[in-house]
């Protein structure tokens, strides 16, 4: 049972602050006065709305259908009346509203008829489709559709990893879930093993959660399944990063641009395994999740909240203190500041953190980089952040890419340790956003040029054809037949015309060659995950640009 542990380089040890919210059991959050369910549930794809305002829906009823491979079905979290289908603010860094279905709960919690799914009789494909129709996405934060991740990929999946590391400070929703529902999580994991044909299941949990480890080990013993191993990993942020946990448990390093399936491993959050169990064993779609409320709150804890519950309805449960000056979703290392509180809990909302000036003091003024290398020591992607900083700041984006900018996972370790208090991650987000934007502009420009060149070529061709036709007409006279043929052929083959055509052909060829060459690394062969990342970055770009401006304006 004792597996050899590997280690990842770098990482930091911020104060964990787990005790605040980890002691009390998960409580069910009361039904809110209204629910806001964004149609965009997974990273990129938008579901197609199936309901009308005024329509009555049951708890668990499908209200929007999945469209496209990256999309998942959306369900009514409770029974009630659809009030509106309109853009609503969502917890996204851009702060932009997104199309959403607003439901007024009727308070009756009337379920649809729940049907367990016989996954043992179904094919893997059918089970994956079923999970898509149950709206199951990763609950670790990124919201990647589970049915896509459970797909066989190139090589199939040999090792299934359950991520219970929960390395971000303050967050304890996975901890509580493992303590209270360990058997359901492992039952879900066993179902996932069946779908993927994996040989073994490794559960990685940080050593600061001994109760969760004990509960999961008990559950594993209860199953009597020797292929399930619960492994304690050292507490070191970001041990719960997917790539870091895979590295620690298996020794495999998954480079940027590659998926776990390339290496026969796939990693799921423990909450996702729980959701899969509920969907298959009980026929319950994913309509709720556990959310940690912590930080500057009088009664921190974990609450099972319906997807779509406005965050403002949730906060009173934990009673934020009077000096709270901001709220974050996610942890302090990678979390996102909430711009408004009427945004809903989504499937990726693992934590709402109340901040105060004492808890998260404003960063001291930025000093120049002294190249001390602290950031490189703690970078889990083993980058040289200070080099990337120079390139990003100077907008030498090509160099930044050469120094593997896109391998950055934005974990925040570099900013955390920087003695000069440089918000390094901000610079990297800015540089990534700029590179994506330029790529997009270039693609648009390429398309426009291609169209223009095509039009030119077509016009030339038409002109030549017209001339030929005209010549043919005038050649009707028999006596002048020979001369007419000569005339008819001439325009098409005149040296002038030939030169023009050659020019056009050369230009087209040049354009194509240029386009092929100019495509930089890191942006070719995009996987769905990367495309999702692009989408996320796109969203953040505008805001980050604004935020980075003051830093960049400093002339130094």
């Amino acid at each position: 049972m004792i597996a050899k542990l590997f280690s990842f380089k770098g990482g930091v040890k911020p104060a964990s602050h787990k005790d605040e919210s980890a002691t009390a059991p998960i409580r069910v959050a009361p039904l809110p006065s209204r629910l806001i369910i964004p149609l965009r549930q997974s990273a990129r794809a938008m579901a197609r709305c199936l309901v009308q305002p005024g329509q009555a829906v049951l708890k668990g009823e499908v209200i929007a259908a999945a469209e496209g491979p990256m999309c998942t079905t959306v369900h009514a979290p409770t029974s009630g009346i659809v009030r509106a289908i309109e853009p609503q603010p969502v917890p996204h860094p851009s702060g932009l509203p997104a199309p959403s279905i607003v439901i007024d709960p009727d308070g009756l919690e009337r379920w649809i008829e729940k049907q367990p799914f016989d996954y043992l009789a179904a094919s893997a494909r059918q089970t994956r489709d079923y999970l898509r129709d149950c709206g199951v996405v990763g609950l670790g934060g990124a919201g990647f559709p589970s049915h896509v991740k459970l797909g066989p990929g190139e090589k199939g999946i040999e090792t299934l990893i359950l991520n219970g590391a929960e390395c971000e400070p303050w967050i304890t929703c996975d901890d509580r879930l493992m303590r209270e529902r360990a058997d359901m999580i492992l039952a879900g994991a066993a179902m996932m093993r069946h779908i993927t044909g994996a040989r073994r299941i490794l559960v990685g949990i940080e050593d600061n959660k001994p109760q969760a480890v004990a509960a999961m080990r008990d559950a594993a013993r209860g199953l009597g399944d020797s292929a399930i191993e619960v492994i304690v990993v050292p507490t070191r942020y970001p041990a719960g990063g997917e790539k870091q946990l895979i590295r620690v448990l298996t020794g495999i390093e998954i480079p940027y641009g590659k998926l776990g399936t390339h290496f026969g491993v796939q990693c799921f959050n423990v909450g996702s395994a729980h959701a899969i169990y509920r969907a298959i064993a009980h026929g319950e779609p994913l309509i709720s999740r556990v959310v940690t409320l912590s930080g500057n709150m009088a009664h921190p804890g974990n609450f099972e909240a319906l997807i779509g519950t406005p965050i403002s309805d949730l906060l009173p449960l934990a009673e934020p203190r009077a000096d709270t000056d901001r709220y974050l979703t996610g942890g302090p290392m990678m979390g996102v500041g909430l711009q408004r509180l009427d945004t809903p809990v989504t499937k990726g909302t693992n934590c709402i953190l109340a901040g105060s000036p004492a808890l998260f003091p404003p960063p001291p003024p930025e000093m120049p980089c002294i190249r001390c290398g602290e950031c490189a020591k703690v970078c889990p992607a083993e980058l040289q952040p200070f080099e990337l900083y120079w390139f990003s700041r100077a907008k030498i984006f090509g160099k930044a890419q050469e120094y593997s900018l896109f391998d950055c996972i934005e974990c925040g370790c570099c900013s955390y340790v920087c003695p000069s208090r440089i918000p390094l991650v901000d610079y990297f987000r800015f540089a990534k956003g700029e590179i994506w934007a330029r790529e997009k502009e270039k693609a648009a420009a390429d398309l426009a040029r291609e169209r223009y060149e095509f039009r030119l070529a077509r016009e030339e061709r038409e002109k030549a054809e017209k001339a030929a036709k005209l010549a043919a007409k005038t050649a009707a006279g028999r006596e002048k037949a020979a001369a007419a043929i000569a005339v008819a052929e001439k325009p098409a083959t005149s040296p002038e015309e030939d030169a023009k055509k050659a020019l056009i052909a050369a230009a087209l060829e040049r354009a194509r060659a240029q386009k092929e060459q100019a495509h930089p690394e890191n942006v070719t062969d995009l996987t769905p995950e990367q495309q999702a990342e692009i989408a996320a970055i796109e969203g953040r770009r505008a805001e980050i640009r604004e935020m980075a401006k003051p830093h960049l304006r400093q002339d130094d």
């Binding site: 390093e253 003024p365 190249r371 001390c372 690394e521």
Partner: protein
Amino acid sequence: MNNSPYTLKPASVQSVMLRVLLALLPGIGAYVWFFGAAILVQIALASLTALAAEAAMLALRGKPLRPFLGDGSALVTAWLIALTFPSIAPWWLTVLGTLLAIVVAKHLYGGLGQNPFNPAMVAFALMIVAYPLLMSQWPKVGATDFAVQWDAIFGNRQLLDAMTMATPLDALRTVLRDPEQRAMIGGILGGKATFGNVGGRGWEWIAAGYFLGGLYLLQQRIITWHLPVAFLAVLCAVSGAFALFDPERFAGPGFQLFTGGAMLAAFFIITDPVSGTTTPKGKLIFAAGAALLTWIIRSFGAYPDGIAFAVLLMNIAAPLIDMYTQPPVFGHKGKQEDSR
């Protein structure tokens, strides 16, 4: 509103620099013990000059005074200048050197974090070229009369001859230049009056103090092992090899390591991250190069101690070394990697 991460480790440039200063204290203590309190006067002179020059330059450049003046980087430069200059050098020599370091080597290149050359080494190199005599009048071991030293620093240098003496490196050079005495190098190095037990009377204890401070910096993770270990190992290896080959012409590793600025360089000078290399492999190359050049200049050059020139020469090469020694990133190490 700022972005994640919202929680930061308590760290600052100031705390880094203050710990570097703290690490210099054992060496300074030994200095005072063997050579008198003159060094403290020099440290004070250099510190005041450095802070004044820093403030003036910050004002000229329109930078905020408080964060930069308080960062401690000017003090580190000042202390290194004081410790590398003779402790009985006239006051203006120290002041001029410090001014050149802060104004020219640091701020004219863009200030903190931007200087391509180690400012203290720029000061030393310029001064030893401009004032070779003044830069080689070192105090005698045990001549700790503070009044005389004070006089020497502030004008009256008549009693100087009585209180100066050649440093071990100088003495060695003189001996080596004289063909008649050459054969006696073994005996001379054994002469305890100048050469002490390993690296020169008094000097070896100062070096030991720097070594102690260096261990503290390692323990505090302010420096990594790469630079000092590579520097000392290469200096040791090359001097050891040549001493074995021709013991009459070359001093052995014990002497090389514990004399002159070797120990100070290993832990405090080549470890300057701004002007040095930053990658692990780059640090090894940088330190090895500095050690090799130091030994070459010490053994064949015109100046007694080659550290300043060795460090400046390696500073020039640092960006190139860094460029060619970038470590592989996560997931791109094995040969199976094809996309990069």
